[in-house]
């Protein structure tokens, strides 16, 4: 069932165009790398603040409100470009370990972020103005940093299998 979905994906016009063109894949891949760099770079700023390492003079709530629109915009670009790259050779990518592991880490990073916003972030006005940040915030920031490093590493690894 899912195999048939992957085959259908590979037969869509954009997927065929990408796999037949010599420059579409590198072009979209460049966009993908740029978008990921913006996602990871902006999230790292927040994570390092949650870990009390960087930007300590900035209130956490303010920093997150300022950075998050950039993160989400870049994330949307990364998802779209990634989906296009995936579609060009869906069956092959789906069968690789790094691809699956990357998707798992991506989901975990999303869950970690949701958990942070549903719990610790609700009281950000109480603890976020000046350091130190509470332990729960540090754990969330550390997890996020580790997960995103994993996502990038596995993403690069997909190209080697």
């Amino acid at each position: 069932m899912f195999d048939r979905f992957l085959q259908w994906l590979e037969s869509t016009p954009p997927a065929i165009a990408i796999s037949e063109s010599s420059w579409l894949f590198p072009g979209i891949e460049s966009v993908h790398v740029l978008a990921i760099a913006m996602v990871v770079g902006s999230i790292t700023m927040v994570d390092l603040r949650l870990l009390d390492i960087n930007l300590r003079e900035r209130p956490v709530g303010e920093l997150i409100a300022e950075v998050l629109p950039w993160t989400w915009t870049s994330f949307a670009v990364a998802v779209c470009s990634g989906a296009l790259l995936f579609s060009s050779n869906a069956t092959k990518y789906w069968g690789t370990v790094p691809f699956r592991a990357k998707m798992v880490l991506l989901a975990l990073a999303g869950i970690n972020m949701l958990a942070y916003h549903a719990t610790i972030h609700r009281s950000v006005d109480l603890w976020g103005r000046r350091p130190p940040t509470p332990r729960a915030a540090k754990i969330s920031g550390g997890l996020s940093l580790g997960l995103w490093i994993g996502v990038v590493t596995l993403g690069r690894w997909i190209g080697f299998v």
């Binding site: 590198p26 913006m38 770079g41």
Partner: protein, 164 residues
């Protein structure tokens, strides 16, 4: 000449080791990309401020103090990881048009950045609270140049895998 050097470098024990151990290149590339994300995000914030498009509540001087150490720190990581990649695969990079283009853009953006930092430093020394208003258009040109060059560097870097 260049071919001889590439050949010699590829035959050194260090290069042989990097080629033989399968996980070194992907791991070092991942580190390289992580450092690039630090540079791109920091410089996007700084350059957009120079262009007057974002972060206007902070002064250029304070954003410069905040982001420049990350730029130089990440550049050291990039130079180190990049060197490992060159030693491991000299043929893939040194004779590659995208690589040469990337290095030219890198040299240009470093000169532009150092030049702008020198102007900013002189303004602050001269008693100005931030970049002198007279240097407003210089800030815009610097922001535009720097942003385009960093995007170009990242793209050219990825294209090394495709060009010869």
């Amino acid at each position: 000449m260049l071919d001889d050097f590439i050949h010699w470098l590829g035959a050194t024990p260090v290069s042989q080791l990097i080629q033989k151990v399968f996980w070194i290149i992907p791991t070092v590339q991942a580190v390289h990309i992580l450092a690039i994300s630090v540079v791109l995000a920091s410089m996007a914030m700084f350059d957009l401020r120079l262009l007057g498009l974002a972060g206007k509540r902070s002064s250029i001087a304070s954003l410069s103090r905040r982001f420049m150490p990350w730029l130089w720190g990440a550049l050291i990581v990039l130079a180190a990881s990049g060197s490992i990649l060159i030693v491991g695969e000299p043929k893939r990079s040194l004779g590659n048009l995208s690589f040469l283009l990337k290095m030219c853009m890198l040299a240009t953006v470093i000169i532009v950045t150092l030049g702008f930092q020198a102007v900013l430093k002189r303004d602050l020394k001269g008693g100005s609270a931030d970049l002198a208003p007279a240097h407003g258009s210089l800030a815009k040109i610097t922001g535009l140049l720097s942003l385009s060059l960093w995007v170009g560097i990242a793209v050219a870097g990825r294209l090394i895998a495709y060009t010869g």
